[in-house]
Amino acid sequence: MTDGNLKNSQDIDLSVQIGSLRLKNPVMLASGTVGYGNEISNLTDLNKIGAIVTKSVSLKPRKGNPPQRIVETASGMLNAIGLANVGVEEFIKTKIPFLKQFDTNIICNIAASSIDEYVECTRILSPEEIIKAFEINISCPNVKEGGLIFGHDLKAVAEITRRVKGATDKPVIIKLSPNVPDIAGYAKVVSEEGGDAVSAINTLVGTSFNIYTRKPKLFNVTGGLSGPAVKPVALAKVLEIKRRVNIPIIGIGGIMNWQDAAEFMIVGASAIEIGTVNFINPNAGVEIAEGLEGYCRKMKISRISDLTGSYVI
């Protein structure tokens, strides 16, 4: 790490680079936890955020799963939304124009039930110039064809990466499933096939039952576990990738505050995404960016990118 000779606040460079994509700070809002930005913009200043990852969009609209879609667990929550989304067409027509107003990077997250659909969505959306990168969700545990089938198949991940890259010249981030013993193996394939970055982690598969009705609390039976409960697992996954593969990592999983964000960067994340915390504190992203700046000053780090992978083992 640079032993900073920091003159004043201007001196701290919070910007980070992910492939050809430059973010003003490493804080990103995770897909599915900020919709398309409109509601949360009433409660926080999106101009101060590094990037917004939009809710997974699929070729056609999806109405999502019937209720109940969420359950709270110990320091976490299960969700089985079922990729409810407006579909590519409506996304371009109504969501993109709204997002234009913000001085931040828009990253479009794509979910699909076939490799061709991933490619097709990317091809259609690639010309939209406010979209600065794509995050490919191959790890949604909540719909039969939500990609998790791909997320646990090295060959599929390779093909998705290669063909999506072929469909756009914008950076492509592959969002990995944590439900595997060797996540680094998947990251390796992504880097070999020209992927620009990986994001980790998506949610862990979990469930919860009512002991009096003996029915699952979620209509979908299982859901994705997120929140502080999963942070230790997410950190281990990021560290495993960092130690074995040379590719930018976006760290996700249970981040509630700037301390958590710093921890993810130390184990190897170039940037971080926050999800569940947005539901509890919609201004968390701004607070985390500010907190990281204060941390850098205290630690005499002039460029926050120097924090990435700076663990001492």
Binding site: I40, L43, G64, N65, P66, P67, R69, I70, S75, I81
Partner: protein, 252 residues
């Protein structure tokens, strides 16, 4: 919609584990309308993790009231709040009751804790409207009439008022209802809402209901609170499109 750290100024136990909490919160009080709710963070720790949604029970100047039932972790913590402590409140949220417009008499139907939104609605109802209030509960101890006017009561066990459920009570009072053009406003457990809906459909009364759902965010970003729509494909979001809906728009 705003997040405020509001000071707790009063905590009253209305009945068996039913509480009324009063907070000073001008910012939300100013904007709130009857039927809307707030999403309250009961603890700064990660446990419980999620906010808890509560109807705005009443608004009095700079003050908000919430009525709650001690159920689990969250409401237990809420019931232990001390005067002077602050509460992290997100609100006002959702679509409230549409109580203006073309009708002569408002008919409130409250079951158990469904009484929560009616004190505020009672206060805001235009003087020009007549008001009938029907309150039901399992037994007298469940009957909550806080902040309501000239209520007519039913209990399943007959320990207070009419013996039977609140919809049977409505049937029994059809005559007064028929005297004027009415609009029904109902809040309570889903089985009660189903019965109210059936009743209103049968006599083609206008009716709005306040529904519940598990929630995470409370303001439309998590998609966690769907309710099946009858007038379009797919779902409405209880937190954003509701919690108050015209009975013709949602399946129960």
């Amino acid at each position: 919609m705003i997040i405020v750290n509001a000071e707790v100024t009063q905590l009253i136990e209305l009945g068996s584990s039913i509480f009324l909490i009063k907070v000073r919160c001008p910012e939300i009080a100013r904007e709130a309308s009857p039927g809307q709710f707030c999403n309250i963070r009961v603890s700064e720790s990660n446990f419980p993790l999620l906010r808890r949604p509560f109807s705005i029970c009443d608004v009095d100047g700079d003050y908000l009231y919430f009525m709650f039932n001690v159920l689990g972790e969250g409401t237990t913590i809420l019931s232990h709040k001390k005067i002077g402590e602050t509460l992290d409140i997100l609100g006002p949220l959702g679509q409230g009751f549409n109580f203006e417009g073309d009708y002569e008499a408002a008919v409130f139907v409250a079951g158990g804790l469904g009484a929560a939104p009616f004190p505020f609605l009672t206060r805001m109802l235009p003087q020009t409207k007549k008001l009938f209030t029907f309150v039901g509960g399992r037994s007298s101890s469940d009957v909550i009439t806080y902040g309501m006017k000239n209520e007519i009561i039913s209990t399943d066990d007959g320990s207070k008022g009419f013996k039977g459920n609140v919809v049977e009570l409505l049937e029994a009072n059809r005559k007064i209802l028929e005297e004027s053009k009415i609009k029904v406003f109902a809040c309570g457990p889903t089985p009660m809402l189903r019965a109210v809906k059936e009743f209103c459909m049968k006599y083609s009364y206008n009716c709005e209901i306040s529904v519940e759902s598990a929630m995470a965010c409370g303001f439309g970003i998590c998609q966690g609170c769907p309710i099946e729509a009858l007038d379009k494909e797919g779902y409405y979001l209880v937190c954003k499109d509701g919690p108050v809906f015209d009975i013709k728009k949602v399946a129960l």
